[in-house]
Symmetry: C2
Subunit: 968 residues, 2 copies
């Protein structure tokens, strides 16, 4: 072992002598990860991470940033680095093959690396004795694949630069430069819209709207992020899909800067994808250049600027349209939460203010009423007085009041409005980001290609399991022959169906488990002889159960995320888009069930299958089904909802999103340092290159988790809002942090992701819209069934003697003749036992003295009818209003649709003008030529003719040809 190590050391020392580049340029950072199968994406972020790390140190950083712009160029300091690929290598413990000592540098590229490789083979003959291990074979195969890939890149016209592989193992980077020919060709192929020379004025609002707009701008000035605006916000540059034929149309000042960095890297990455065919995907790491994100950090990615609007245009410029849309969406959602929070608080305050005037809770708290309630458990529980539940009744009124009904309707319309506004904002962004012409098909076509070549590389799925590896290879092989048939897909679909069902069952059984826990623990605690234990049974049980629920939800959430991914992989979807959609759908379905199952149970099932005194429903040999607290089920729903929502937000946000990445980074750093110390690299310069710095960062793993978190929160805000009007407030508070948290993560913690052009947020919109629709029916049921709204209304207008709520409590309680309690279930040691003839319980049943004793009373059915009628009315009314709102608000803002029309007209005019000018130029040439010819026919015949030929030729070659003849 020692020999090998020292050999490696001397080998690296040797290597350093042969380096063809100055030391301060070839320095790099080596990642110490040993997992050869790890696929990671390094994204280039133009010193942002450096800047941020040093931000507190002041201006020094910025000076440094400016001082080394050369980091973004090839060694010739001319060619821009547009993309960087990284790979792990592990030097073969070189076996000398006679005759192949100095392999021919392949087509002249990557000669640096090969030269050093070759020299290694020659320079260290002592290593010949080392056997070729299986690991080496793998490494060799990978190298060949890599070289094949590099060759493809060169063939596509890209230029590459490599670092020498001068260590026994480590990370090496391949930097790619796209020359003008490639850029212009690909831009034309991808129909990328580029700015033309033409600017046009954006029609402004007039009259009152303009004044209002100005006032709004002035008022919100401190909230605007201080980013450099376009010089002229009233003008917009006309963009047109790039075409080499019409190159004169575009505003090309410098061919090196015409395509901005985002576009350049996009072009290169598209090229990478289309060129690779089942490539050595676990070796290549995609990696990109960009422009400074310093500004983004200052004006967006700090908690200090939480009150400011987001600089969406800048975000889009830096991260691309897809991430730009996410933050725009998140911003709009957060803004929309403000009015709903305000209304929510008002509703809550209304509850607080009316609590004193609420007759039912007053009656309940009134000691004089003395409703003797039936015992809550068999044998060990005593009769109890309703006034002891006074506190919960009062608390319950905070959420269970008529304002809640109004709030539910408000929130349903709010959801519709939000979706409509989002459609409009999306349209507006499409217009300003020049996405209006972006065809859906374009993406599909690329995906089709992607299908046949590079299925899973593109979204950095860690294909770590053996199974998925196998599947991937099978897929690649099959794909080369033909499409997958139905029978190939069948097992995948079957597995999907089965596993999803199983997972949903798992979530349900988790909920059921908690119910069992509650029932048994409550029963066990009620046996307790300790008086304080027994008095706090309900509180103890509820609190612990909810916490258990929360923990289960959090754990299952993680499991479900992984399961959804795996399930989608074995389904082998055809295109990247399909993959993403199916993954999202599955993950959403599972996480939705997981998050809401317990809440659904409390809302609609808890306490509905209790039975009645004398005929309770028993489960598990003698445990009575659980009842709701005396304050009503709505109170319990509220507690359940708030704890799960807040707990999920706090724990997932703080622990998972901040803590774990920090830990990971720390861990990685420690490990790296250890490796570094071990290698004792003498070449390591103190000033690492940008790609080295970025390579340390976590790879970007897609927006799905971010969206998912928000969508589940949207569910909490809308689905059960009738039971918890403060949900929007907490969501708002969370999101104000979330925006900056995500921003910080994207800017400083993650490698910069590939810019992806997207016109919309895709399937998330459908999910949001689905939740919005579901919320209507759920809220209808919560109000009708869970809350006491309908019984109160019914009492007031149908049963009350004087139209007031007096006597409501008495009306909702049925009588039970205690002598009919089953033997063995009567309370032992009762304090009341002697005086109690009838105990009361909450239900509408016939009294003991009725001929149909304990049957549901007429009131029960009447109230039920009213409840159901309310559901129908509420659902259809709200649905109708939603449709109306949807229909009234046009999907495309009026000014944008006018602008788009205008742009078209301007475009046509511009084209015609350009054509006209070309024509005029030609004409003037001809005229000029004729004049010249006339004036100097005799003296300068030949030269004038030759001049005219060159410039007139586009018109008609025949004319110039014949004129030549006459001249000659």
């Amino acid at each position: 072992w020692k020999t090998a190590k020292s050999a490696r050391d001397s080998f690296s020392a040797y290597n350093s002598k042969y380096l063809t580049v100055p030391q301060n340029r070839t320095s790099w950072h080596r990642s110490g990860t040993n997992g050869a199968l790890e696929a990671s994406v390094v994204s280039y972020r133009s010193s942002v991470s450096t800047i941020i790390n040093n931000y507190v140190e002041g201006t020094q950083t910025r000076a440094r940033d400016k001082a080394s712009p050369s980091g973004l160029y090839f060694r010739d300091s001319k060619r821009k680095v547009d993309y960087v690929l990284a790979y792990h290598y592990r030097k073969r413990l070189a076996r000398h093959v006679p005759g192949a000592a100095s392999p021919e540098p392949r087509r002249g590229f990557a000669s640096v690396a090969l030269v050093s490789n070759g020299s290694t083979g020659k320079g260290l003959p002592g290593l010949e004795v080392v056997e070729l291990s299986p690991l080496d074979t793998l490494e060799e195969a990978r190298r060949l694949q890599r070289e094949e890939y590099e060759r493809n890149l060169l063939e596509a016209g890209l230029e590459i630069e490599k670092d020498p592989e001068n260590k026994s193992q480590g990370v090496s980077f391949v930097r790619i430069h796209a020359p003008w020919q490639v850029l212009s060709r690909e831009a034309e192929l991808l129909k990328i819209k580029m700015p033309t020379k033409k600017m046009y004025e954006i029609t402004e609002e007039k009259g009152i709207l303009k004044t209002l707009n100005e006032i709004w701008c002035k008022l919100t000035e401190p909230l605007q992020p201080q980013v450099p605006q376009q010089e002229n916000t009233k003008m917009k540059t006309l963009s047109y899909p790039f075409s080499r034929e019409k190159i004169y149309l575009y505003n090309i000042k410098d061919k090196d800067t015409f395509f901005d960095n985002a576009t350049r890297s996009r072009i290169v990455s598209k090229n990478n994808i289309s060129l690779s065919s089942c490539p050595e995907w676990d070796l290549l790491v995609e990696f990109r250049m960009g422009f400074t994100g310093n500004l983004l950090y200052q004006e967006w990615a700090r908690y200090g600027v939480f009150y400011k609007f987001q600089p969406i245009d800048l975000i889009r410029k830096y991260f691309g349209e897809k991430i730009g849309l996410y933050f725009a969406w998140l911003g709009l959602y957060t803004e929309f939460l403000i009015p709903s929070s305000v209304v929510g608080i008002i509703v809550f305050l209304y509850g607080c203010l009316t609590i004193e005037s609420d007759i039912p809770s007053k009656e309940m708290c009134d000691q004089r009423n003395a409703f003797t309630m039936c015992p809550l458990c068999d044998k060990f529980c005593d009769y109890w007085n309703l006034s002891s539940a006074c506190a919960t009744a009062r608390a319950s009124h905070l959420f269970d009041n008529p304002a809640t009904v109004f709030f539910s309707i408000f929130m349903a319309l709010w959801a519709t409005m939000f979706l409509e506004q989002w459609k409009r904002l999306q349209m507006r962004l499409s217009y300003f980001w020049d996405l209006t012409g972006l065809e859906e098909e374009e993406v599909n076509l690329l995906s089709l290609e992607w299908l046949s070549t590079t299925n899973p590389i593109n979204h950095n799925i860690s294909y770590c399991t053996v199974l998925s590896h196998l599947l991937f290879y099978v897929f690649c092989l099959q794909n080369e022959k033909e499409k997958l048939t139905w029978s190939d897909r069948m097992p995948g679909y079957a597995a999907n169906f089965g596993l999803i069902l199983f997972m949903i069952m798992l979530a349900f059984s988790a909920v059921f488990g908690v119910i069992v826990y509650r029932i048994t623990t409550a029963a066990a605690l009620s046996f307790s002889t300790n008086e304080t234990t027994r008095s706090n049974v309900r509180v103890t049980v509820t609190a612990t159960a909810v916490i258990i629920n929360l923990v289960i939800v959090l754990i299952l959430d993680e499991i479900y995320g992984a399961v959804a991914k795996w399930l989608t992989e074995i389904e082998i979807p055809k295109t990247e888009k399909t993959f993403e959609e199916r993954l999202i759908l599955k993950a959403f379905l599972l996480k939705f069930v997981n998050s809401y199952a317990s809440i659904f149970y409390v809302a609609f099932f808890k306490g509905r299958f209790v039975g009645r005194p004398g005929r309770y429903v028993y489960v598990f040999e003698g445990y009575r089904m659980e009842e709701c607290a005396p304050g009503g089920c709505l109170m319990e729903l509220c507690i359940q909802l708030s704890i799960i929502m807040l707990g999920k937000q706090l724990i997932q946000n703080n622990l998972f999103e901040i803590g774990i990445p920090k830990l990971k980074k720390l861990f990685r750093k420690l490990k790296d340092e250890r490796t570094e110390v071990k290698e004792m690299d003498t070449n390591q310069s103190k000033d690492p290159q940008q790609w080295d710095l970025d390579y340390i960062l976590e790879p970007f793993t897609g927006l799905t988790p971010e969206y998912m978190e928000m969508i589940i929160q949207f569910g909490f805000v809308t689905l059960f809002v009738a039971s918890f009007p403060l949900a929007p407030v907490f969501a708002l508070l969370n999101n104000i942090i979330e925006v900056r948290l995500d921003a910080k993560k994207f800017v400083t913690e993650l490698r910069r992701p590939d810019t992806v052009r997207e016109k919309d947020i895709g399937i998330w919109y459908n999910i949001l819209s689905g939740i919005g629709k579901l919320s209507v029916i759920i809220n209808a049921f919560v109000i009708a069934v869970t809350s006491d709204f309908i019984p109160r209304l019914m009492y007031q207008y149908a049963y009350s003697q004087n139209g007031t709520m007096h006597g409501f409590i008495n009306h909702t309680l049925s009588y039970f003749n205690v002598s009919q309690l089953k033997a063995g279930t009567q309370p032992e040691n009762s304090l009341f036992a002697q005086e109690v003839l009838f105990c009361r319980f909450k239900d509408y049943r016939e009294p003991p003295w009725s001929p149909h004793q304990y049957e549901f009373s007429k009131q029960y059915w009447a109230v039920l009818s009213a409840r159901l009628a309310f559901v129908i009315l509420f659902q259809n009314l709200v649905m109708f209003l939603s449709v109306l709102v949807d229909w009234m608000i046009p999907d495309i803002p009026k000014d944008i649709s006018e602008q788009i029309k205008k742009e078209k007209t301007v475009l046509v005019d511009f084209f015609l003008k350009e054509e006209h000018e070309k024509l005029k130029l030609i004409e003037s040439f001809i005229a000029h030529d004729k004049q010249k010819r006339r004036s100097g026919t005799k003296s300068r015949r030949t030269r004038a003719a030759s001049f005219s030929q060159c410039h007139r030729s586009p018109k008609g070659s025949f004319t110039s040809f014949s004129s030549q003849h006459t001249v000659v």
Copy 2:
């Protein structure tokens, strides 16, 4: 007067001498309509009407048709007539103005007419005495406008040919020819897709699908119309928006035939629209050429071929995409009615078969049960035995049975399926008709232009009312200045809102009127002493009331159509599309209310506000509210629905669609003949030109009435299908006729309409989808509330002693103590009076011996709860299933989406290949040139150089310039 007439005669005789064209060419048909404001559109139909008129006469017609193809050309027999404008003229009873005797022919066009005009002025000086009447002034203004318009046409590059105006008044035609320059320019501007040289193969289905497809084709062969198919159905020509720059791409054999007639006339008509600015719209008649529709008549527009599929491609070729889509939609709808008819018949048969085993109707008919019912009217009605209503009970079972519930669910899903399939078919047609790239904006842009110029001409609205004239002029004037402001539009909107509300109220009051009629007539008839009258009261009243309803519906339908049009006009919508959409929405709203108001009343309100014996609800001083027949309200709903549906179909189809046009034509013909005789035109040849024949036909007034009729029918089929499962059958029968009826009308009775390119059926789809959604909730209520389904279910599973239906009738009838009948309401002359203590009535109320006598009983509330629960369950289940179906069926058929992708690839390949060939050609030229130069440098220096310059110039002018220098 006599002088004037003779003068006119001699004038026309004089005129004939000066005619510059042979007589047999200048003959035309003059329409005798005097209404100067009438605007009509003549569409050209290439002898179709002639053919059809003579079809029975055999082959002679076809020979004639072929003999005179010159009818489609200008007089030079070369230039095709692409469009014909027609106008009424009325010769000025010429007043000689000295010095202006021979007005200058304006820019040389229409010189024929002007020459004859001028010569009139000179040749008939005797007419100077005639005063210039106001009519003449108007005529003169119109002439000027017309000339302005014609000048615009000429300026746009179109060529026109006019007939001389050689009668005192009549119709004159302006024929328009579009030369190649205009066609190619406009085709490029309109981005019309034209076939390129490239064909590509359509991927066929494989395996089982192919076999199935072949079997299907073979089976349906006799049903296929015998029209010439594309030679090669497996190949499709690649189309690409026409571009003059890339002219080499297209398959141009002959510039005269490259653009087909439909495209040519479309281009001309677009030109017409864009050129006219507030034109003399009541004078110009648009008019078009086409190709023979003989085949269409034989294979489509006859009742004899009712069983055949429609030749959609041919229809589209002849009538354009918009009408093609209508017939495709109608065809699909009719096909979809087949399965629903079958299921409907099965459901009906199920009812028939189970009628004997239905216990409730058996019990009702059983004489032994002897339920003595309370009297149906005060004083004059006697107690009656329930068994007398046996027949209606049995009939009611036919529609009110459990199969109906299944059928409702089926129909809701059917509607969703239909809409999904339509989306797919639409997509398929778009693909094969090359509409896939057709942009929405294109239409909008044109509309915007249309807004500023020619608002209402384009859809042949008869602007006959003075008000709309005024508005139109105001609009034109305002438009020239600026856009209409909000305050300009306000009155229009207010009028709209008010009038629509009023119209809806009108429909409601009509329904209410019929109710009043029923109540009062029933009361009046029950006073009658005639025994037979009294026994048939119900039948008489119901029958007459429904007929009155029907008549009102038919009358209001016509009124509402006109009102909707007028209302949309005064709203002054911005674009043509908006106009159509708003018109449709308004008309639909009004006609929907009109058609369904009475049905809604019977379904949900009739018999619900009757009160109870002893406390009936009275209206109009002593008339009791009407009850449903003893068989249940569903029976009455069924009768109401079937009569209105069938009546509407029969009367609107037969009377309005066949009868009235025939009458109109007859009337017109008679009038024409009269005028002709009066004029005694000596020039009239026996062989009229095609445009003369077509001018007689009715103008095309849009597809709105056709769609509207079908949509209202779709409503009948889906909305209340629970009450009338045979509705789809009747709809199917109607539609089989309707397709051919419409076809015949379009081919033979109407002028051929402008071809309009449309991608979809627009707002109709939304209306259909809305009806589909509404039908879910309505059917839920019909089943739950109107039918006896829920009470039966409840009885069977909750109240019945032995789980059977025995005793159901008794259970639904409440008791009433006859002694509690109010004084004066007891039956006079009762046959039962002595023996009756309690009478029965249909309701769930407490019996007289209960403490809460006559209150709603517990059963009432329980049944109500069940009903409402059913509504919630049904609505949400069906909605969920619909969403599922919608989601499962992709909107774009898989083969089509693949085909579209393939087309894109083929297109790119084709382009690249063409470019490559061009490049190769240039290269070969250069090579050739070089060779030449090399071989003959010394002898033919100058010529070779000049040759090379001409052909190399696109590459770089500088090179050729310098080379020239060296050569010289």
